[in-house]
Symmetry: C2
Subunit: 196 residues, 2 copies
């Protein structure tokens, strides 16, 4: 069906435009109808599951990210575990001067290390962390959907949220500005289900 | 606006009912319109975010649960950690004979224990697990939303999916039939965002 103007719809339904306006607004906001200025309304061709997908795709990492918990590369494995318990997080980000990302260490990495029988009071996290450039990350303007896809595809629990910073030597550094975990996604899922 | 029949809509728009049917079906499926037999169509009063909420609320734990990984109460902490790595899960369920739930043990519990300096080859998981009746669980017919709410509110990574079983002594037992984790929720979020 071709486009139809608000006036035409009102005339056909024997209603005023004012009466119709809220209903047209709902259909347009839902994505089922599209409104083109000076042309009119037409069916978008979208189905309800596509409306759900559109909503999910529209959310940004910036909207739901948490505060990052960071340690230095020289921090001992023991202190890293203690930090994890104090801050109640499952992943720590390892940074150098200026807060630039060096590596990531997870509860799983630490559990494996404590099992190894080494002196974890002396062992620095730098030895057991996943090191750049092998660290996956996200940024504030990436969609939550895309970041969640990285978590699932690469089987990690959390991603550092970074901001690219030009270094004096011309290379790129990545300042850690947040944390995005499966907990953030689960909390978002609960909020979307509340319909507020 | 009151209900309006399919015939009346068709007449007002100078279209056949057959032409209208797909559009009415889309609006009804989306939840924006409601159809009442022998009465007609009316606006449901729902907004798009409520459509997203309705979809999320409609999914059941049965649709997305994973296979549970279980150990016996006498299993050592060391063997539990090894099982966790072999099976690549963050939570183990501790069961007695017949697969009945006794407790839950997480990566966090195990990390705390390995740090304690005890002999984890000899220490049984029964000593460090969270024990029934202090274990949160879900069942196949609970909504994923409600299970996700439990994960967030009680700050746990996974729930056992159980089926109630009457015991010979008249008490209730809970057979472990699945596992629902933040990973399942994140994977579902990715799938909903794909719009398939």
């Amino acid at each position: 069906m071709g486009p139809i103007t608000g006036e035409q719809i009102a005339e056909k339904l024997s209603l005023t435009r004012a009466t119709l306006r809220p209903d047209l607004a709902i259909l347009t906001m839902s994505g089922l109808l599209e409104a083109r200025p000076r042309v009119g309304y037409f069916h978008s061709g979208k189905f309800p599951h596509q409306i759900v997908a559109k909503k999910i795709q529209s959310l940004l990492v910036a909207d739901i990210k948490s505060v990052p918990i960071v340690v230095s590369e020289k921090c001992s494995v023991y202190d890293a575990v203690v930090t994890m318990f104090i801050e109640d997080v499952g992943t720590l980000f390892v940074v150098k001067e200026g807060g630039l990302l060096e590596g990531v260490i997870s509860r799983k990495d630490l559990l494996k290390t404590t099992l190894g029988g080494q002196d974890i009071q002396k062992l620095p996290v730098g030895v057991v962390m996943t090191r750049m450039p092998n660290v996956l990350f996200t940024h504030t303007e990436e969609s939550v959907w895309s970041a969640a896809w990285k978590l699932i595809t690469h089987e990690v629990d959390a991603l550092p949220v970074v901001r690219k910073v030009a270094q004096p030597d011309g290379s790129d550094g990545y300042e850690v500005v947040g944390r995005l975990s499966k907990t953030n996604i689960t909390r978002l899922f609960v909020e979307l289900g509340e319909g507020n």
